[in-house]
Amino acid sequence: MPIHNLFENEMKQNNLPLKEIGDKTVFNVPENYFVNFKAELGKRLDALEKGRFQAENIAQTPTKSKRFVLRMETARPYLYIAAMFVLLLFSISMILNYTSNKSSSSLGLSVESSSSKSAIYVPTAEDYLINSVGTYGITEYYLDSENIE
């Protein structure tokens, strides 16, 4: 015989004080408790659902930083296109510059050399003579009879 069957037989014989007390419930509830309970629970469920709905709405409504991120997300492809366009223009201008420099240097018409000529003044021998002797000295030189042959 299994041990729990032995227990049951033993209990049937020995639970006299428990039998005397009986197994009737000694607990009561307020009148219409279970009817009112359903209504009360219904209210709590409504509040819970309302709260959940609001929480979901809050979660769905983006905050300021989230809004900025969202804007950035939408603007990102346009920004990439603009950046590519700027890069393309820059590279084209660089290539054009490079090719024009190369062609002018091969013809010996450097832009830099022509501009440097106009910018730097190179004195001639006549200038040097005028500066060192002066106009008075030259006149005297020509008027000096000794010098006229």
Partner: protein, 183 residues
Amino acid sequence: MEKSNDTELLLMLHDEKQRRKAFNILVEQYSESLYWQIRKMVLSHDDANDILQNTLLKSWINIDNFRGDSKISTWLFRIAINETYTFLNKEKQKNQTNFTDLDDAMVQNLEGDPWFSGDEAAKKLQKAILTLPDKQRLVFNMKYYDEMKYEEISEVLGTSVGALKASYHYAVQKIEAYLALDL
């Protein structure tokens, strides 16, 4: 414990449009039996009311997680038992900080409880039941008051039938001993 077609009710519970209606049916069917299980564990009507509300709200929140692996009643009873254990543990912690015993406090509350109609012998029986560990108390209540089959208790508590029979046997022995001392 099984009162209606579980499959049909479960289908309704998983349907967004019918969920609320199905849940009302569930509350109608199970709230009373859940209440009495909880009440016998915590003794106070107010505490039982709070725990029952929490149990049903938790079941509402977790409906999607319930796939019908067990009966709806079993699922609900498990939630109710967990909620009851959580409540009792919190109360024990509170009483520990106040240097009082939870069982004594519960018996004292019973003395002035307007929703308790038992005589002295019934009070003594409640005191005797309170000397049992929580799980043994639950087994005793389910068998002694609700006359549940061991197989049903086993399904709810996840304990083998043999272990439940032994647990109930020892519970009865302890209670008998307590009553013999006091009566």
